[in-house]
């Protein structure tokens, strides 16, 4: 899975994107966050306040409970502030 980060999340993790082989047990966006947090302390800080996170799976806005299924790119970012 291609993981991409933006704004405050990107800065907290330290990279804009990375490729990760997700274990079988990671089925949803939320699972993925939990797994990453287990992997590295940086993720814990970046994902501390889940209410302040938004997600896009293959460039479509999704909720935390959405299944990853065949998706190839998961984006994790703070609420958007465009316009």
């Amino acid at each position: 899975m291609r993981l991409v980060y933006f704004a405050r999340v990107r800065e907290a993790i330290g990279v804009g994107g990375e490729d990760r082989a997700l274990p079988e047990t990671v089925l949803t966006v939320a699972d993925c966050l939990d797994w990453l947090v287990g992997e590295n302390a940086n993720y814990a800080a970046a994902f501390a306040d889940r209410d302040k996170l938004r997600f896009a799976l293959d460039q479509q806005m999704v909720r935390e409970g959405t299944a990853l299924e065949g998706a190839t790119e998961l984006a994790i970012f703070p609420p958007v502030t465009g316009g």
Binding site: V4, F6, Q59, M61, V80, G82
Partner: protein, 149 residues
């Protein structure tokens, strides 16, 4: 006539809007969002999600054109650093009558504020740079468009 554009340089909103006025509609509405200094801000930087941004704006415009049978629609959004006083976003809508043009214009700016993957960073005089926090009021405004009235 539909024009959705991301640009990293200042754009001529007037020229863009002038083209909407040529579509023989009776009504053209517009909204311009301008980089504002509410105390100590020197510039506003827009980060965005290239693979998704344009597609999300295209989808919003397509929805507005269909829902309000627009004759034309323009959506131009800046990326990168925007100087104070410069336009960050321009939304323009053309329709036969004013209700469609006005409502579609408000819809587009409200929805893009909660759906389009942009993030604003305020650069301040003291050299610091702060991410702008999303406002709950924005989610509220976007919500009211949920069910077509």
């Amino acid at each position: 006539m539909i024009r959705v554009e991301l640009t990293d340089t200042a754009f001529d909103g007037a020229a863009a809007l002038a083209r909407l006025a040529l579509l023989r509609g009776g009504a053209v509405a517009s909204f311009t969002g301008i980089a504002r200094d509410d105390g100590g801000v020197t510039a506003i930087e827009l980060e965005h999600y290239p693979a998704m941004t344009k597609a999300s704006l295209d989808a919003l415009v397509k929805e507005a054109v269909t829902r309000w049978s627009l004759l034309g629609c323009i959506l131009i959004h800046r990326v990168g650093v925007v100087a104070i006083g410069e336009a960050i976003v321009l939304v323009g809508t053309a329709a036969s009558h004013r209700a469609e043009a006005l409502e579609a214009c408000a819809y587009l700016i409200d929805r893009l504020k909660t759906d389009a993957p942009f993030w604003k960073k305020e650069h301040r005089i003291d050299g610091s740079a702060l991410w702008v926090e999303a406002k709950a009021s924005d989610d509220l405004r976007a919500g009211k468009w949920a069910n077509p009235d």
